[in-house]
C-alpha cells in the first residue's frame, strides 16, 4: 500500500506543512479584506445618516415630521430608523419606540441599541445612530442598520471556502506527486546502485538536463563513478602488469632451479644456480617493495618527519652522488643552485624524488649529453628543474606518465621497476607541490614548491 509510506515521506510532510501555512495566510488575508470592507461600508453609512440628520434637522414642525415619514417610507429594506422625541423624552414621530438611553447627542455616529417599532411589535436592534438636539429642545435620532457587511461576510466566507478547498487540494496533490516522484527516483537509483555494487561498473544514475537538484546530484555521482571506473580499470591493468613483471624473474628462477637440480654435480655449479635464483627472486622483491612504497607514500599524510629542507644543499647532495655515474656514461651532470631556498618537507622523501628524476635523466640521456639540475626562484615558488638532452617524453605520453600506474612501453625495456615517476608524483603530491613535464628538446621536469605561510 502506497499511502502509509506516502504520509511518512518527507516531501509529503512538507506539503502538509505548506498547506497549514497557506491556510493561515489565506484566512488572514480574507479577514483583512472583511475588516476593511466592513469599516468602509460603516463609514459610508455613517456619512449618509449624518447627511440625513443635517438635512432633516434644518426643517421644522410639520415639514420635519413629513421628512421623517418620507425618509422611512423610502426604505424598502427596513434598515432605516428615525425618531423625534420631545424634550421630556416622549416619542413624537418615527419608528423608534423610545429615546435610546445610550445615545449621546452631538457626537459622530456610533453603535447603539434601539427599540424599533415593527408594525405592532417592538424589536431590539443594534444600529449605527446619531442624535441631535433641535433648537426647540426636541431630539432628532437617525439610525441605520448596516447589514451589508453581513452579505459581504457571507460572500467572503464562500470565496474563502472555495479558494481554500481548491488551494489545499492542489497542495496535497502536488505534495503527493512530488513525494511519489522522489520515491520513484530513489527506487530507481537504488536499483542502479545495486547493479553497480554487483559489479556492473558501466551503470550510471539517471540524469536529465533540466537543472533539477536531483539530476545535479546524479551528475556528481556519475562523475565520481567515471573516475572510479577508470581507476579500477587502471588498477586491473596494473595488476596484470605486476603479475607479468613478477612472473618473468620468477619463471627464470624456477627454470634455473630445475636445471640446477637436474644437472649440477659440483658445489660451484649448485652455487651458481643458487646465485641466479636469488637474483631472480630479488628482482621480484624489488618490484613488490617499490609498489608497497608507492602505496605507502600515496596513502600517508604529512608526517612528523617534515621540517625545513634547504633545497640548494639537497640538490648539491644529489648531484654529488650521481656525478660518478654520469661520468661513467660520459654525461655532463651540472648543478646550479645559487639561491639559498628552503621548503617545508620531508628531506628523505625529497631527496628520493630528485634522485629519481636525476636517475631517469641519466638513464635516458645518450653518451655525450648533459643533465642539468637547477634551482630557480619563480613567482611565489621555488622550482627544482631537472633537464636533459635525451629523447624526451613524447607529446602523447606527457600526461600519461604522470597518470597513476602508467608505464610506458619503452620504459618496460629499460632496467628498473619503472615506477620511478609515479613515486616522484606521489612524493610531490604529499608535499602539496606541483610536478610538470615540459617538451624538449630533451626532457625537462620541474617540481614547483609554492611558498607556504610560516
Amino acid at each position: 500500500m502506497i499511502w502509509p509510506e506516502l504520509v511518512r515521506s518527507t516531501s509529503f510532510r512538507r506539503a502538509l506543512m505548506l498547506v497549514a501555512a497557506l491556510t493561515a495566510i489565506i484566512v488572514a488575508l480574507f479577514g483583512f479584506v472583511y475588516w476593511k470592507t466592513d469599516s468602509y461600508l460603516t463609514a459610508r453609512s455613517d456619512q449618509m445618516i449624518m447627511t440625513q440628520l443635517n438635512v432633516i434637522s434644518l426643517l421644522s414642525d410639520q415639514r420635519l415630521l413629513d421628512a421623517i415619514d418620507a425618509h422611512l417610507r423610502q426604505d424598502s429594506r427596513g434598515v432605516q430608523f428615525a425618531g423625534l422625541f420631545g424634550a421630556d423624552g416622549s416619542r413624537i414621530a418615527g419608528n423608534i419606540a423610545r429615546l435610546p438611553p445610550g445615545l449621546k447627542t452631538g457626537t459622530p455616529a456610533h453603535g447603539v441599541q434601539i427599540m424599533a417599532i415593527r408594525g405592532s411589535s417592538l424589536e431590539n436592534r443594534v444600529v449605527q445612530g446619531v442624535a441631535r438636539q433641535l433648537p426647540d429642545g426636541e431630539v432628532l435620532v437617525i439610525g441605520r442598520l448596516v447589514d451589508e457587511t453581513v452579505d459581504v461576510a457571507r460572500v467572503i466566507g464562500q470565496a474563502l471556502g472555495l479558494g481554500l478547498v481548491f488551494a489545499l487540494g492542489l497542495c496535497l496533490v502536488a505534495g503527493a506527486l512530488a513525494s511519489i516522484r522522489a520515491s520513484k527516483r530513489v527506487e530507481e537509483v537504488s536499483t542502479r546502485v545495486q547493479r553497480i555494487v554487483a559489479g556492473d561498473l558501466h551503470e550510471r544514475l539517471p540524469q536529465t538536463n533540466d537543472g533539477d537538484p536531483f539530476s545535479k546530484l546524479a551528475a556528481i555521482v556519475n562523475g565520481m563513478l567515471d573516475e572510479m571506473e577508470t581507476l579500477i580499470h587502471a588498477l586491473a591493468g596494473v595488476g596484470n602488469d605486476i603479475a607479468h613483471d613478477l612472473r618473468t624473474p620468477l619463471t627464470r628462477a624456477r627454470l634455473t632451479l630445475e636445471r640446477g637440480r637436474a644437472n649440477a654435480v659440483t658445489l660451484e655449479q649448485l652455487q651458481a644456480t643458487a646465485d641466479k635464483t636469488i637474483t631472480g627472486i630479488d628482482q621480484s622483491l624489488a618490484i613488490i617493495t617499490a609498489l608497497l612504497r608507492l602505496a605507502e607514500i600515496e596513502n600517508s599524510r604529512r608526517s612528523a618527519g617534515f621540517g625545513v629542507v634547504a633545497l640548494d644543499q639537497l640538490l648539491r647532495e644529489v648531484c654529488d652522488i650521481y656525478e660518478p655515474i654520469a661520468e661513467n656514461r660520459d654525461i655532463a651532470l651540472k648543478v646550479k643552485a645559487s639561491p639559498e631556498l628552503s621548503v617545508h618537507g620531508d628531506r628523505d622523501l625529497l631527496i628520493e624524488a630528485v634522485a629519481n628524476l636525476v636517475d631517469n635523466a641519466i638513464k635516458f640521456t645518450p653518451a655525450g649529453g648533459r643533465v642539468d639540475i637547477d634551482l630557480i626562484r619563480g613567482e611565489g615558488e621555488s622550482v627544482v628543474r631537472v633537464s636533459d638532452t635525451g629523447r624526451g617524453i613524447s607529446e602523447g605520453e606527457r600526461d600519461a606518465v604522470l597518470r597513476r600506474f602508467y608505464r610506458s612501453e619503452k620504459d618496460r625495456k629499460t632496467p628498473g621497476v619503472g615506477l620511478g615517476l609515479n613515486l616522484v608524483a606521489a612524493i610531490v603530491k604529499l608535499h602539496g607541490f606541483r610536478l610538470a613535464i615540459f617538451p624538449g628538446p630533451g626532457c625537462r621536469v620541474e617540481i614547483a614548491c609554492p611558498d607556504q605561510a610560516p
Binding site: 646465485d275 637474483t279 660518478p324 631527496i351 628520493e352
Partner: protein, 225 residues
C-alpha cells in the same frame, strides 16, 4: 661467546636465522613470545637483541622501550614486515639501534649484527690506520704506505666509514644509509660505482687489494695479512 637473543614468532624465519648465526659462532637464544622474550632479555644478558615488531604477548617496540627504561643499553636490531615511512623512525625512536625490513637477505642481517657488536667507540684518534692505509681526519689526507691518495670529499667519507669498520661486511643498504643518508634503494647501482672509483684509488695496479667485493652482499675493507 657472543650471545644473541632472537625474539621472533615465525618459527621458520627463526630457525634459518639461528642456523646461520650459530654457524658463524654465535650463541643464539630464541624466544617466540614477547613476554617471554623480555624475561630472557632481563635474565640472560645477551650482547645483542634481534626483535620482531609484531609479537604475541607484547609487541617488539614495547619490549625495547621497557628495556631502555630499565637502563639496559644492549644494542637492538628491529625486524619488521611493516614498511611504512614513519615505521623505521618509530622503531629507532623506541630505542632500536638498527632497523631491517622483511624480507631481508640473511647476509644483510649478519652484517648488521656484526656492525652493532663492533660499533666503533667514540675515539679521539685523529688518524685512522688499517694496515698500510692511513687517513688523517684533520688534514683530510689519505696515504697508502708512502703513496698519497687524492680523494674527493665523498670518497674520503666512504673510506673513513670503511676504515672504522675494517674486516666487516658492509652491505649496499648500510652504506647508502650511513654514508649518504639515503633511506631508499635507488634504481642505479650507486654504491658500486662509488666503490669502484674508491677502489681504483686505494688499490693500485701492483698492490694487494684491500677493498673486496662480496658477491651479492656488499664490500669489505680487509687488513692485508
Amino acid at each position: 661467546m657472543t650471545k644473541i637473543l632472537l625474539i621472533e614468532d615465525d618459527g621458520e624465519t627463526a630457525e634459518e636465522v639461528t642456523a646461520e648465526l650459530v654457524e658463524r659462532g654465535f650463541d643464539v637464544e630464541w624466544s617466540a613470545d614477547g613476554t617471554a622474550g623480555l624475561a630472557s632479555a632481563r635474565s640472560s644478558g645477551p650482547d645483542v637483541l634481534i626483535v620482531d615488531r609484531m609479537l604475541p604477548g607484547m609487541d617488539g617496540l614495547s619490549i625495547i622501550e621497557t628495556l631502555r627504561q630499565e637502563q639496559v643499553r644492549t644494542p637492538v636490531l628491529v625486524l619488521s614486515a611493516l614498511g611504512a615511512i614513519d615505521d623505521r623512525v618509530r622503531g629507532l625512536r623506541a630505542g632500536g639501534d638498527d632497523y631491517l625490513t622483511k624480507p631481508f637477505a640473511i647476509l644483510e642481517l649478519v652484517a648488521r649484527i656484526e656492525a652493532l657488536l663492533r660499533r666503533p667507540a667514540q675515539s679521539r684518534e685523529t688518524t685512522l690506520r688499517v694496515g698500510v692505509l692511513e687517513l688523517d681526519l684533520i688534514e683530510r689526507t689519505a696515504k697508502r704506505g708512502a703513496r698519497e691518495i687524492d680523494l674527493l670529499p665523498r670518497e674520503f667519507r666512504l673510506l673513513e666509514y670503511m676504515m672504522q669498520r675494517c674486516d666487516q661486511l658492509l652491505t649496499r643498504a648500510m652504506l647508502l644509509e650511513e654514508v649518504w643518508n639515503y633511506k631508499f634503494v635507488p634504481a642505479t647501482n650507486l654504491v658500486d660505482v662509488h666503490m669502484g672509483r674508491l677502489r681504483h684509488k686505494v688499490d693500485g695496479p701492483n698492490e694487494t687489494p684491500m677493498i673486496h667485493n662480496v658477491r651479492g652482499a656488499g664490500f669489505i675493507l680487509r687488513t692485508p695479512t
